[in-house]
Amino acid sequence: MEAVLSPKERAQYALLAARIRRSALEMVYRATSGHIGGSFSLCEILSVLYFHELRIDPKQPDQPDRDRLVLSKGHCTPALYSALALRGYFPVEDLKQFRDIRYHMSGHAEMHHVKGVDMSTGSLGQGISAAVGMALAGKLDKKDYRVYAILGDGEIQEGQVWEAAMAAGNYHLDNLCAIVDNNNIQIDGTIEEIMSPYPIDKKFEDFGWNVICCDGHDVGAIHDALEQAKACKGKPSVIVAKTVKGRGVSFMENSCDWHGNDPNAEQYAAAAAELDAALAACEKEAAKYE
C-alpha cells in the first residue's frame, strides 16, 4: 500500500477541490441551471481521483490502457467538467459552454464532445453497468487499468445498480472500484424519508464486494480508501463516502432545495463569498509547502 498523503499533497488536493467547487458554482450560475448540491459533495473525491489516483494523460484521452472513471450520477457535470478542465483536458474557458445551445457541453455527462468523459451518463443506475463492462473488458484483454464508478446514494435505489453489483461480485472484478457519494439527500427529501437504501455497506458486502467507509471530504481519507481498494484482490471494492450535499456553502448544505436549482444573483454572491474565502484559506495552506 502506498504511503499516506504528505501534508503538502493534502493541501494541494484540498486546494484543487476548492477550485472545482468554485468553478462548479460559476458554471451553474452562468447556465442558470444545473446540479450544485451533488456536485459540491463530490469535489474532494474528484480532486483525489483526477489529480492523484487515475493513470491518465489529458493529451491522450482515448489511450486504451488508461484508468477509467464513470460518473454514474451523471447530473453532477459541474464538478466533473471542472475537474477535467483543471486537469488539462480542455481549457477552463470552455466551461462557459455548459448547457449552452451553441455548444455540445450538455447538462449530463457526454463522452463524445467533452474530452476525458469515459461514458455518457445521466439516466441513473446505468453508469455502474457500463463500468462493470469496462472492468470485464480489462480482464478479457489482460490489461491492468482500473475502473472507477461514482454513484449517488439515491441512485442506488435503482434496481439496475444491484444487477450490476451482482455481476461485479460474480466475476470477481477487483479492477473495479465504486464510490457511493453518501450525502443522504435526493430530490424529494432525505434518502431515508423517500426509500432507504441503508445499510449500504452490508448490501454491497452481501453482493461480494469489499466495503470501505470514509469521510468523503477528507482528501487523506479518500486517498487511503482508494489504496485499500486497490490492494484488495479477488473482489470489487466500494467506498461508501460520507459527504454533505451542498458542501461548502452554509445555506446550501444538507438541503434538497439545492439538488437542481440555480442561485439568483444575491444567493450567488453569498455562495461565492463563502467559497472564495475557503479557496483563499486553501491557497494559504498550500503556499506553506512551496
Binding site: G125, A130, V132, G133, G159, Q160
Partner: protein, 313 residues
C-alpha cells in the same frame, strides 16, 4: 424444403464469425433459446451469461463497447427492445456504441407462451430511437448475411428474429442480391407493390402466386432493414405500381407499415394498406393458427392487394 428459424441461423452465423476476438456475446439466461450456445461452446472466454438482468446486460455491453469490443446482447425481443428500452436508448444509442441488440421470439408466432412473450412493439420502439439501425431478416440465408454485415458495421443495431421455423426463400431466388440496408426486389410486377419484412416475406411470395391466378402482377420488396428504410426502393415501387401493401408480424402502428407510409405520403402519395397485428395483444396458440386469427397470412396480403388495386381506380 427444410425449415429453419431465423434465431438458429443467427446462432450459426455468430459461431462462424466468432473467431474475431473483438466479438463478445452476452445472454440473460436464454442462451439455449437465442441460439448463442454454439458461440459459447467455441469461445467460452467471450460468452457471458449474466443472468436474468437485461438492463445490466445492455449497460455492460455499453462498457465493453467503449473498450473496443463488438458486443451482441441477446434475449427475447420483449426483454431487450421492451424491458431494456431506456438502457438501449441512453447507454447504447445516445453514445452510438458498437452493440448489436438481438430480439428473438418476436411476434405472435412465439405461439403458446402468449402475449407476455409475443413482442409486437419492437420495430416501432427501436425505430423511434435516433441513429438506431433496425433489422428484420426473413429467412436463414438473409439472417446469416445480416448477422455478418452488422458485425462489420460500427454502431448500434437491433435485429428482430423469430422462434418459428420458417421456409427458406432468398437462397432459392437466383436474382436475390444482399446489401446491408437495401431492399431486395424478389418479384417485379406493375399492379401492386407488396413490401414485407421478416417471415411475412414468405407470405408475400405466396400471395404473389394467389394474385397471379387472378391476373394481378405484384412487385415484392423484401425489407431486411426497417431503419434506415431504403426510401429509393420504396418510392420506385410506389411509382411503378401506384399502390402498396405492407406486411409485418408486428403491431401495424409504427413499424414497417408506418415507415413506408411516412416515405410515400411525403414524396409519392399512393394508397398504402397495412397487414399486421391490428393493435391488440396475441393469444396463446399454434403459430400458424395465430397468423390466421390475426389476419397476417398470404391470403390476407392478397386480399389487401386486391383492395389496394381497386383504390387506384
Amino acid at each position: 424444403m427444410n425449415k429453419i428459424s431465423t434465431r438458429s441461423a443467427y446462432g450459426e452465423a455468430l459461431a462462424e464469425i466468432g473467431k474475431d476476438s473483438r466479438i463478445v456475446v452476452l445472454d440473460a439466461d436464454l442462451q439455449c433459446c437465442t441460439r448463442t450456445e454454439k458461440f459459447a461452446a467455441l469461445y467460452p472466454e467471450r460468452a457471458f451469461n449474466i443472468g436474468i438482468a437485461e438492463a445490466n446486460m445492455v449497460g455492460m455491453a455499453a462498457g465493453l463497447a467503449t473498450c473496443g469490443k463488438t458486443v451482441f446482447v441477446n434475449s427475447f425481443a420483449m426483454f431487450t427492445a421492451g424491458r431494456a428500452f431506456e438502457q438501449i436508448r441512453n447507454s447504447l444509442a445516445y453514445p452510438h456504441l458498437n452493440v448489436k441488440v438481438i430480439g428473438t421470439h418476436a411476434g405472435v408466432t412465439v405461439g403458446k407462451d402468449g402475449a407476455t412473450h409475443q413482442c409486437l412493439e419492437d420495430l416501432a420502439a427501436m425505430r423511434a430511437i435516433p441513429g438506431m439501425m433496425v433489422l428484420s431478416p426473413c429467412d436463414a440465408n438473409e439472417t446469416k448475411l445480416v448477422t455478418k454485415a452488422i458485425a462489420q458495421y460500427d454502431g448500434p443495431c437491433f435485429m428482430r428474429l423469430g422462434r418459428l421455423e420458417v421456409e427458406q426463400c432468398t437462397n432459392l431466388l437466383p436474382d436475390y442480391r444482399f446489401e446491408l440496408g437495401k431492399a431486395s426486389k424478389l418479384s417485379d410486377g406493375r399492379d401492386v407493390a407488396i413490401i414485407a419484412t421478416g417471415l411475412m416475406v414468405q407470405e408475400a411470395m405466396k400471395a404473389l402466386e394467389l394474385l397471379r391466378a387472378k391476373g394481378i402482377e405484384a412487385t415484392v420488396l423484401d425489407v431486411h432493414c426497417v431503419k434506415p428504410l431504403d426510401a429509393d426502393a420504396v418510392l420506385a415501387a410506389a411509382e411503378q405500381c401506384g399502390c402498396i401493401v405492407t406486411a409485418e408480424e408486428a403491431n401495424i402502428l409504427g413499424g414497417l407499415g408506418g415507415a413506408v407510409a411516412e416515405v410515400v405520403c411525403e414524396s409519392c402519395p399512393v394508397p398504402v394498406l397495412r397487414v399486421g397485428i391490428r393493435d391488440e395483444f396475441g393469444r396463446s396458440g399454434d403459430p400458424l393458427a395465430l397468423m390466421e386469427l390475426y389476419h397476417i397470412t398470404a391470403a390476407d396480403i392478397a386480399e389487401k392487394a386486391e383492395a389496394a388495386v381497386r383504390m387506384k381506380k
